[in-house]
């Protein structure tokens, strides 16, 4: 992956995601480790119907095209870190 890649984090702002903990997610940025700051862009999105699936686990966050369910700030950051490490090993 491009080292200048900017991670597009999209947080679902729908009802279900909001009440299941999504309300806290827009505060993501201050929790990013120093080396990731500036590499992550946080946006909102309206409900994309992930919650309509049989086995639903809101809140949902998309990092680029990867869907994270039962998302928390820790989980999103862990995923981005994993992508970064994976890149550096290549």
């Amino acid at each position: 992956m491009n080292p200048n890649h900017i991670y597009q984090v999209r947080i679902c702002t729908g009802t279900l995601c909001h009440v299941m903990g999504g309300a806290l997610l827009p505060e993501l940025k201050p929790y990013l480790p120093e080396y990731l700051k500036g590499k992550v862009q946080v946006k909102g999105m309206t409900c994309a119907d992930y919650c309509k699936q049989e086995d639903r686990k809101p809140p949902y966050v998309l990092v680029d095209d990867h869907l994270i369910e039962s998302a928390s700030i820790e989980k999103v950051i862990a995923y981005i870190k994993k992508c970064e490490n994976h890149d550096s090993k290549q």
């Binding site: 702002t13 009802t15 909001h18 009440v19 309300a23 309206t46 409900c47 309509k52 639903r56």
Partner: protein, 387 residues
């Protein structure tokens, strides 16, 4: 024909140190007769006793006026009913009644309050041009109101604000008050009744150096062109109706709000407009607002309208400054006259999950409650259409 809408706004502030305001404003719209009646009453003294006197006076005056009782008899009934103050041994509450007919014919009865003002656009209207006579110490004025007229009623807390200050020894003199209003209306010709009332009360509060020396209140009756608002919430019951809903929004002449993420997705898909979610307005209570081209506001659905309903029920409409999604919707609701709700009735099954941490209401019921509040408490013209 272009109809005139009558908007009523009221703001009050209690005397410093008191829990309640001794000035009371009541209003009623009689849909069948096309009449609008507003009463401002100022009870003797301040605090809870004054509030009771004023509430009794205002509700009696309102109901006598609705029943078309002769002025003399109403005045007598009010006088005989009010309890006598235990210290001052008198009973007294001043009042002003504004009675507006469907065609703009207006009758104003005044007893004891400062004289009302009428502005036509930003110009003060001369009271000499009105027919006025006195009965039972009550001044009765008649005139024909026109579009862009504003009738301004206020208590002596406004005209006497700042009294004794070196720069305004006699309080806020009437000429200065007129100039203040005229300046505001010149700069903001379409200022809502509520906003103008709030500005006047705030200024009077400032004259009193933010420690009100008396109950301060102001009511504004504004004759204006109706402002239309469409609130669209919920996916249509049948999918085939999606396009109808989108077209209704597209062709609507006025301000448009969409409440609901799924609804917004449908409209976005049908009209081909992208949605842009703005995380900066997020707070823990409500999801943030979004924007879409051609729509004035897009919000989340049930949590937001639930909050709107809660606030409309409880608050002093002038008192919200919250800029979250519900605050923005309330701002729009209060600034418009004719409000249409287009409500999709499809149930979101995911919201019925009993393991959710909060109870999510059925949209249709919440909207009905909001509509009822807007009609009864805020005198709006409301239509609900289910789709």
């Amino acid at each position: 024909m272009d109809r005139t809408f009558i908007e009523i706004g009221h703001q009050n502030l209690q005397k410093n140190g008191h829990e309640v305001c001794g000035d009371v404003f009541m209003s009623r719209k009689l849909q069948e007769e096309g009449r609008t009646i507003g009463v401002l009453s100022d009870g003797l003294g301040s605090g809870i006793k004054a509030n009771i006197l004023a509430t009794m006076t205002a509700s009696m005056a309102l109901n006598f006026t609705i029943a078309n009782q002769p002025v003399e008899r109403s005045a007598q009934s009010i006088r005989e009913t009010l309890p006598v103050d235990s210290e001052r041994k008198i009973n007294y509450a001043s009042f002003t009644i504004a009675d507006v007919e469907y065609d703009g014919e207006t009758t104003i009865l005044e007893y004891g309050n400062p004289q009302f003002l009428i502005f036509r656009g930003n110009k003060i209207m001369n009271r000499e041009t009105m027919k006025t006579h006195n009965t039972e110490k009550i001044a009765v004025s008649n005139f024909m109101a026109q579009k862009e007229d504003r009738i301004i009623l206020f208590s002596d807390g406004v005209s006497q604000s700042g009294i004794g200050r070196a720069d305004m020894p006699f309080g806020w003199e009437i000429e200065d008050l007129k100039e203040f209003i005229s300046d505001h209306l010149s700069n903001h010709p379409h200022m809502s009744a509520q906003k103008l009332a709030r500005h006047i009360v705030n200024r009077a509060h400032m004259n009193d150096t933010f420690s009100a020396q008396d109950d301060i209140s102001c009511s504004v009756i504004y004759f204006r062109k109706p402002r239309n608002l469409l609130v669209c919430s919920g996916p249509p019951y049948k999918k085939e109706k999606d396009a109808t809903m989108a077209q209704t929004i597209k062709s609507f002449n006025g301000t448009k709000i969409i409440c609901g993420g799924t609804t917004a997705q449908i409209i976005s898909r049908e009209l081909g407009c992208a949605i842009d979610a703005d995380l900066s307005s997020n707070d823990l209570e409500l999801p943030p607002v979004s924007y879409m081209n051609g729509v004035d506001l897009v919000t989340e659905g049930i949590l937001t309208i639930g909050k709107v309903s809660e606030w409309l029920e409880s608050m002093n409409p002038g008192g919200i400054d919250n800029q979250n999604a519900a605050g923005q919707i309330i701002h729009h609701l209060l600034a418009h006259d004719k409000i249409t709700f287009l409500v999709g009735t499809r149930i979101n099954e995911a919201h019925q999950d009993p393991s959710l941490p909060v109870e999510l209401e059925i949209r249709r019921n919440v909207i009905k409650k909001i509509a009822h509040l807007l009609e009864e408490k805020y005198l709006k013209e409301v239509h609900i259409q289910f789709i």
